[in-house]
Symmetry: D2
């Protein structure tokens, strides 16, 4: 594949960003979004299998990066690091940067669960860097903006938890809901990662819906942990079932929580609007939102509905799993950590239709 | 479009089938499936907009019906009638056949709810033929086989209820579950019907997931009614949320019910297997089933899973909304009503991939 | 995955069919179609990677075959053999059956090119069984029905050639066209085979069209060979470009051939209709045909159009690559070789929508 | 749908853009792309059916435009106008702006054919403003950059012609090709427009490929006209066949032209690279390009291949029909007409996967 350089003026850019494992979908997406960041520039990228190639040669849609070399390790000075490695491998890669005081956003799951015993339970191995857990901040700005601003290590939320927590947080924080919560989530196939195969082949996945890891996915404790932090005792119990649907991008989390008191739809919507009043990337919709209305941008659309016959809150959250569910969220966290405008580089309409 | 007649020997066929509104997706599918029925033959079809055309000319995939005329009304003698008209219009079309004692399968929703007040509540109009309700049998053979055998009017289940009820019935009947049930259902777009437009255009629906009629869909009382019939008091309360996913065919119902006692996965699976022991078209899967494994055939695959951390049953049902969710189910009901083999004409593997 | 046996009466079946490599898409599809064959039964199946499993356990959509074991080699007596192995491996597997006089349909490309030098040129290796080439008949019944009836070894056409040759044959045979032919073909992804990966992952293939092996695909000489057999000198030169489009099944071949004389659309259509007058599975359409009108069945729809401004014939052929382009064609050939009705087991409407 | 304003600094913007018929797909896409333009701002928009609504309310993905009102006519002063009306209606809407000297980019087909008789032939009606034709410039900067810079009325190319002409232009201009050209084009469904229905419903279009307007599409004379302008006599004759494939965005034009002399692939690639040396948005690929590598951005990827066996050039062009095939091209033309950087606002990587 040829390079087709697009002219641009990078002179005003100052923040140098390194991305570890740029060759997965989340890493690639960080590169895409950073291209238009007004104050940051991608300057160092790693990726074992493609080391030695230029990014723009390896991935034609990133041809603008025609002169940026993929290396085995981050070789130049950077001002911030994203790790998009698989969970468990990621902590080890983040650790040296954290110890040197360089801001790190970990897109993997290594630093999301605060309790190392929970990590052991859900990931089947000891936590790779338990002494760093205390310093890690869960990177959902709608909940933790100020703490992210002063953090040096941010655990970027999982794609399912981001949609689910944002859908439920206002109701849980307002004490509206009881503890038996169900999260039924639908994901596009890119959530399975680049080069995923076998059961993710086009012919097998197209025209198909299926659940997987029923009530046994490691995003379940992450959702429960963050809702518990918003809730009075008893902590919510979360039954989480993820599904694959035949589309490339998008998460649709449909969350069910019993209401503790009779409440009108209007009241709930007002609570949600108040909660997200100053959140630039989470908007409250009064009609069921479409994943496609977030394709390629950093928005999360949430929509609460009340089933008064049954005393049940139905709260929906939708987002693009590679943007607000991964790389866009990481940039938003970077912006906060570095004192930049929270929305810098992310002020993009969705690609529709 | 030309006709391309396939040769076949119809000599042994005896049952003459009429389909009212053959031009919708459910009616077309009945025609497709009846072509290979060993003891029934499609002999009369109606469809206002295409009346006067041959079925094989109107729909190229049904070219085998090159000499069957679409008429405004059923004009020849038939031994059984399917109505695939929209709800409310359907009852009026069925009524004369019912009164003459001709077996009728109503694929619409007119005769599903036994209480005319519930019809008024959910469909916003008085029931069009309340005196026929007592004679109608809910056409899910897994629950009502013997009653269907002696019925003259069968209410064919809705596509969502078929998947949801079959997923939950064994657990509810066994008294395992408490009353607060959630059904989160995902449907292919053909459920919206032929010629559906605007919001069902390809560009709008592709790469999109969205919920609709949240906790307000008229399949909700149908599910609740049938589960109540299986359950001790108190009757289950069902929160039902349907979603559209970008595929043509398929229903995936994920059902959540609190468990009243601690029960193992193995015990639940045994209960399900026993329940469906003699059901030819419902099979119990020990792994999450795929909608695509039912594409084009009359199977419903159900799979129960136990979330022991939270005391929750997760029961999944998948089927093809146009077959086990509509036309195939209608033929299965016809077979039972007429004393034919329950599986006649329906013994087809799914089309995969 | 559980078995869910469908009851059926196999008593009248007599022909025992063996399928070598039942675990690829073409082999699986042969199993699907044979289930409903009135005079043949699948009795022996091989597949290295899944040997020892029951077919109905390995593939849920074939659960009806709950007691048929996948073995490493054909171990029981069979009356006819299909080989769905990859090209070059297939000839070796077919050879012992051919030598014993058992009818063989080779779904691979081994016996399609009559000239072993062409095989060497296009497949990059010597022909594995050149002495069998003389006995092989090209298995397109629309052209070679009588020769297939007396053949013991049939080379089943490639999916692209089947659509392309059927689109062009009447015009070429009538001497209407000059030699510079272009075939632009679009294929669903299942043509790439089961378990194909990397570049055939859902996320990469969805929402994408691309060409591959431009003017360098080994179906090119197959198309040219068969058109040359229909044509006066000089033999047609075929430029063939295949494309992948985001669907699972279907081939759409758009063929361009310069017209040697001014001819009306009506005249061309009449020539096509006459040519396919007694072909049960090829129909002439006067409007552009849709691949979806053949999904799951054995039809090929062809449609000729005349660009009179430019003196160009545009002839379209569409079919399901796994049925008329592979397994269905193999059964049609089997029917002819064994003296059965040509359409036995194949009289199925397409699955639409 | 709620508004969710994204903060941004519009202070530096100066060019006021009006879009007539912002409610179609091309108009919506112009709004999406203009949001990030550094020197232009969308200030006036029309759309009959939605007049009176805010753009951000009518289209959730454009929620950033929460305060921009859709009106019936352009009501405020603008510095440049895009018309995205249907052909024939567009000329009338453009005319007053042209007469007042305001730069106009017509995204419809009204001013593309220079000969009003050709318009009559292909569009079936007299040209609505023949006296403006002489002033119109065909807006393909790769061919006409300098003329666009001084134009007041630019005819934005059709999506098919843009891909086809860019694929063929270097070879035609170099005199490599003979006159009998075939263009086989594949388009995503968004090319059929917003609210297109009936035959463009999801269930009908998904898993389907079909041709339409075979050799009879009004983009045919547009391609022929522009290639003729590059060519020595005799002018190329173009057989053009468009196809719909199941994806939302993307055009893939596969162009076949007989070579007048033996030429190597390397020589052809060198000619192409030289031709597009200073074109920021057309790149030469040495492997078959993927439509998905241009999703959402303004690139056209072209790739020439030589079929030496048959003396045929196969030249491929791919682009996003709503960007380089419509709204992005319009912005590129606007940039040139107004003396802005040609790439302003368009320097975006494609959205992949």
């Amino acid at each position: 594949m040829d390079c087709y350089p697009l002219p641009r003026d990078n002179a005003r850019m100052t923040v140098r960003v390194g991305v570890i494992n740029v060759t997965g979908f989340a890493g690639m997406e960080a590169a895409r979004l950073l291209w238009n960041h007004p104050a940051a520039k991608l300057t160092a990228i790693t990726g074992r299998s493609l080391a030695g190639q230029k990014l723009g040669e390896a991935f034609p849609h990133l041809a603008c990066y025609h002169d940026l070399l993929i290396t085995e390790e981050i070789e130049s000075d950077v001002d911030v690091v994203f790790s998009a490695l698989p969970t468990a491998a990621s902590a080890a890669a983040c650790e040296p940067f954290v110890r040197r005081g360089i801001p790190v956003v970990d897109i993997a799951a290594d630093f999301r669960l605060r309790d190392p015993a929970a990590f052991q339970e859900w990931f089947g191995q000891p936590h790779p860097a338990p002494d760093l857990l205390a310093a890690a901040v869960y990177g959902l700005p709608e909940l933790n903006r100020d703490r992210i601003r002063s953090a040096k290590l941010v655990a970027n939320p999982g794609c399912y938890p981001a949609a689910s927590i944002l859908a439920l947080a206002p109701a849980v924080a307002a004490g509206l809901t009881g503890p038996a919560i169900v999260v039924d989530a639908k994901s596009g196939i890119s959530g399975a990662g680049r080069g995923s195969r076998g059961s993710y082949g086009y012919s097998e996945v197209n025209e198909d819906v299926s659940a997987y890891k029923v009530a046994n996915h490691n995003h379940q404790p992450e959702i429960a942990q963050e809702l518990a932090a918003l809730s009075e005792a008893p902590a919510p119990r979360v039954t989480f079932v993820p599904h694959l649907v035949p589309m490339t991008r998008g998460i649709h989390a449909t969350c069910y929580a019993p209401l503790k008191r009779d409440v009108s739809r209007e009241e709930v919507i007002a609570i949600y609007r108040e909660f997200y009043n100053d959140a630039p990337f989470t908007a409250v919709s009064v009609t069921p939102p479409h994943t496609k209305h977030t394709l390629g941008n950093n928005m999360c659309l949430v929509s609460p509905e009340v089933d008064r016959r049954n005393g049940m809150l139905v709260a929906i959250g939708v987002l693009d799993n590679l943007v607000k569910g991964a790389a866009g969220q990481a940039i938003e966290n970077m912006n906060l950590m570095l004192g930049l405008d929270q929305t810098a580089g992310l002020d993009l309409p969705a690609v529709y239709p």
